[in-house]
């Protein structure tokens, strides 16, 4: 019977291509049993062998050289004092400068060994006979001192260090009979040039932004701080990626405890990988469950420098153009990089506008729903009639209308960001104007709702920090529901609980609402900008080692004119 079945199946499904391709991902437990490739990476205490064959084998296994296309191993020989030493270079293609390797590593080793002369330690002359004491031959020292014309060269014995160097774009040289390897800085990483920051645009300030390469970023800071007390300490984060992070602070200004705390938190991260400063932000902030940012991210070197000079600690993560500054308070997120470039009167006007924008962003839809549902007496009679008339054709309750429009706005915003930039403007235009107009004509929403949502949306763009803007976008929905449930009572409840949450937050030991709650010495470092010549002291909450940032009379030229 089964024979018959098989026969007919073969006839009927003779050309059956497998439409149902069933791939099943094995469970993680099974994978762990099979693969231990990550384990040696975690614990690479193996030292370099004196036999080059072992070293070559070790490196090939570690780098999976047979399948890894960008790992380059160059075998060659060094002829030295009539003796032949096997050697090999290893580097990652695309990360190194081939010209430098050819001219300053391979050429001296393969062609210029003849220029070697014995190193004379001392010379004694007696009875017209010169006796020269020559240093005994040592291959390692000779290579290091005479044959490798490199400014940044290290002698390393542990494979972990060697592999880490190679991964960063260095080149490693292994020579037979030596228990160490040489690594040279021959990096030639392709990087974006320094461009104006995209998220913190200013008109009258610096037009330089951080890039993805940590060394370029540290150099930008170094150039602006221009002081030898700027300390840049490197820490590697991530068992697999070993991402370079630089902890920057100014010795003599930043509080030692703060620096120690930042180092402690960053050094005690047991993670496999770290790709961006955003991830580090989540890992080291005081209250990671809160949607409020507790660390400032900036892509402006001048802003980061001013943070350093205020006594904060700045952390740069390799691969991200955003650096982190800590501690941070609520008012920091409402400050723009442009503020300090403007006259303080203009800056303060903008700050007032930002406060209004903040109130609109968070409360406007909630207040609208509260007023129209519970407190109609607040609306002038004519306006009330207009609102009622405009809502006549709308079949939905205000809550539904608002939620629909808010979600549509968020959708348009998200789509505008994600699509390629030439399409972004089109989407905003189509979404904002045409869709809004059509929604009103179709009687789905009332014009007043469109106005409320539009004002709210525009206000949210006026907030300088987009992370805190996200927080307020979430909070806005809560206020809409509270306003709908209990009018102003609900809104007040929301404000109070929101305040409580803000009052409870701390960033690296500094209260989030500082310097207002708890009230500390404001020293012209409050929300509103004081004239620069009045900012005589650093923020009180940072407990800096150097409290004053300028003398009582900073414009000493005025004193001179009085005389």
């Amino acid at each position: 019977m089964s024979l018959f079945n098989n026969f007919f199946n073969k006839i009927l499904h003779s050309n059956n291509t497998q439409d149902n391709y069933n791939f099943v991902l094995p469970k993680s437990n099974d994978i762990q049993n099979q693969s231990n490739t990550l384990k040696p990476l975690e614990n690479l205490d193996q030292t370099v062998y004196s036999d080059i064959k072992h070293n070559l084998e070790y490196i090939k296994v570690k780098y999976n050289a047979l399948i890894n296309s960008d790992i380059k191993i160059r075998n060659f020989s060094i002829n030295f004092k009539n003796q032949k030493y096997s050697a090999f270079l290893i580097f990652i293609d695309g990360m190194v400068n081939s010209e430098v390797i050819n001219r300053f590593v391979l050429t001296p080793l393969m062609l210029d060994t003849s220029t070697y002369s014995k190193e004379i330690i001392s010379t004694i002359k007696s009875n017209d006979v010169t006796i020269r004491k020559v240093k005994s031959f040592n291959l390692e020292d000779t290579l290091y001192n005479m044959l490798l014309p490199q400014n940044d060269i290290s002698r390393l014995t542990k494979f972990s260090e060697i592999i880490s160097n190679i991964n960063k774009g260095n080149c490693a040289l292994f020579v037979d009979t030596l228990n160490c390897a040489f690594t040279f800085d021959v990096k030639d990483l392709k990087q974006r040039s320094i461009e104006p920051p995209t998220s913190e645009v200013v008109i009258s300030g610096s037009q330089e932004g951080f890039v993805e390469v940590i060394r370029t970023n540290t150099s930008l800071l170094r150039r602006l701080v221009n002081n030898e007390n700027l300390i840049i300490e490197n820490v590697n984060v991530g068992v697999v990626t070993k991402t370079d992070c630089a902890i920057c602070y100014i010795k003599g200004i930043a509080n030692d405890e703060l620096v120690a705390e930042v180092k402690y938190r960053i050094s005690n991260l047991d993670i496999d990988y770290l790709i961006s400063s955003g991830q580090l932000n989540h890992l080291i902030e005081d209250n990671p469950r809160s949607s409020l940012p507790q660390i400032i991210a900036t892509e402006r070197p001048d802003t980061a420098t001013s943070y350093l000079l205020e006594g904060r600690v700045v952390v740069i993560v390799n691969g991200t153009p955003f650096v982190l500054a800590m501690p941070a308070t609520f008012i920091d997120f409402l400050a723009s990089a442009e503020d300090t470039n403007l006259k303080y009167q203009f800056a303060n006007l903008l700050k007032i506008i930002r406060i209004i924008a903040l109130v609109f962003t968070v409360l406007l839809p909630g207040l609208y729903i509260a007023v129209t549902t519970f407190h109609q007496e607040l609306i002038p009679s004519e306006l009330l009639f207009a609102i009622v008339a405009s809502r006549n054709s709308v079949p939905f309750p205000i809550l539904f209308e608002l939620i629909i429009m808010e979600l549509s706005f968020e959708l348009i915003r998200e789509a505008g960001i994600r699509v390629p930039s030439p399409l972004g403007a089109t989407i905003s235009l189509v979404g904002g104007l045409i869709l809004g107009e059509a929604a009103v004509s179709a009687g789905i929403v009332s014009p007043i709702t469109i106005i409320i949502v539009a004002i709210t949306g525009i206000s949210s763009f006026a907030l300088p920090d987009f992370i805190i803007s996200f927080h307020f976008r979430i909070a806005r929905f809560s206020y809409i529901f509270l306003g709908c449930i209990a009018g102003f009572l609900g809104i007040a409840f929301g404000i109070f609980v929101h305040m409580a949450i803000l009052a409870n937050l701390e960033s690296f030991g500094v209260p989030y609402l500082n310097p207002y709650a708890p009230l500390t010495e404001i020293n012209h470092n409050g929300y509103f900008l004081a004239p620069f010549w009045k900012k005589e002291k650093r923020p009180d909450a940072f407990n800096t080692k150097r409290i004053r940032s300028q003398s009582n009379i900073s414009m000493t030229w005025k004193k001179g004119s009085e005389k």
């Binding site: 407190h375 007040a492 109070f496 609980v497 409580a500 709650a517 708890p518 009230l519």
Partner: protein, 370 residues
């Protein structure tokens, strides 16, 4: 910062939060009903007396260093008196808070939320209070400190915008219902300064203990100014017979209008009054919790005092069966309870503590001399 590290302004803020909420709810109405057109004079009079009492308080605390009334009670009558005082204090605050929250909730229902249940509104207030108190005492203080200026500004706006509605003839006759009513019976209006009680327990909470004198005088002066200002506003704006019906401040705001555009701006102010009530309730709960916790031994098992206090406030708030009962409790029972406890029991303990201290030090001197 420890939980006890209160700055001078924060401490003043605590004292002010209490009186502001009382002003919003009932104080000016109560005073005007009691002494009529002599309200301003009476308020000035009780403010002067409160200054004398503040001076006395400062003098009496001078010999006790960092002690508050609980420590003095322990010194005087052992832990039994301390516990009794703490319980009385907690009970007093719970009683006050319970009645005020009920009064406020009733007023909200009358004016805006006709379909709401009183218990639902009260529970909402208590929920906010529990949330912030879960964060801790200093969070309560910080939050209050942020909210207080906005409430103060709103009160000043009400005062200033009410000026066009003033009828100055209402201050006549200046002595109101007579000298006796204004100065002798009217003396009971000193209960308006029920926030005075905070001063007895403030010292251990302060960052700078030396600032206690400044805090005491400043907070009482500001309370006096605010009370006089608002009593004057309400007296000059509203009729005496209308003052007892609803929130004092609402009566003033009800008459404000900004042309044809904003004819009923009172709804805007309601947000501030509600915030004030949230701040008041959270503060009273925090203080009750603080004093109650301090009275207990450190070794004894911790109990969820915050929840218990909140439940008790809710129970007290739902006890009065109608507004008439509520008004009676507020104007008669609370008033005399305040005078008895704040200006009676507390001062007696303080005076007796001083006498004991004096006797001990003099007997020590005698011993030293012999």
């Amino acid at each position: 910062m420890k939980s006890s590290d209160l700055g001078s302004l924060e401490a003043i803020g605590i004292v002010m939060t209490i009186i502001i909420t009382h002003i919003i709810i009932y104080l000016p109405s109560s005073i005007i009903t009691e002494v009529g057109s002599a309200s301003i004079l009476n308020t000035v009079y009780i403010t002067a007396i409160i200054f004398i009492l503040t001076l006395l308080l400062v003098k009496l605390f001078k010999n006790f260093g960092n002690f508050d009334l609980l420590d003095i009670a322990e010194y005087l009558g052992g832990s039994a008196l301390k516990k009794f005082l703490a319980l009385f204090f907690t009970g007093y605050l719970i009683f006050f808070a319970g009645l005020f929250i009920r009064d406020f909730a009733e007023s909200l229902i009358i004016v805006y939320f006709h379909d709401f249940r009183v218990s639902a509104i009260i529970l909402l207030f208590l929920l906010a209070s529990i949330i912030i108190n879960k964060f801790g005492f200093r969070q309560v203080v910080r939050c209050n400190f942020i909210i207080l200026p906005t409430i103060l500004i709103s009160i000043f706006v009400v005062m200033i915008t009410s000026i066009p509605n003033f009828t100055f003839q209402r201050i006549f006759p200046v002595l109101g219902y007579g000298v006796n009513e204004t100065f002798f019976k009217g003396l009971t209006n000193i209960s308006a300064f029920s926030n005075f009680i905070i001063l007895f327990y403030l010292i251990p909470l302060l960052k700078d203990k030396k600032s206690f004198n400044t805090i005491s005088f400043t907070s009482m002066a500001l309370s006096g100014v605010l009370l006089i200002g608002f009593v004057a506003t309400l007296l000059l704006v509203a009729n005496f017979d209308a003052t007892q019906t609803i929130l004092s401040v609402y009566l003033a705001t009800r008459r404000i209008s900004f042309g044809l555009f904003l004819q009923r701006p009172d709804s805007i102010f309601i947000i501030f009054w509600i915030l004030s009530m949230f701040a008041y309730l959270s503060l009273v709960t925090a203080l009750s919790n603080y004093v109650f916790t301090r009275s207990r031994n450190k070794t004894s098992k911790p109990i969820p005092s915050l929840i218990i206090i909140s439940i008790l406030i809710f129970v007290v708030s739902v006890l009065p069966q109608n507004i008439a009962q509520l008004r009676f409790l507020e104007t008669k029972v609370l008033k005399y309870l305040c005078i008895f406890f704040v200006f009676g029991v507390n001062f007696i303990i303080l005076i007796l503590g001083n006498i004991k201290l004096k006797l001990k030090s003099s007997s020590k001197k005698v011993l030293q001399n012999t």
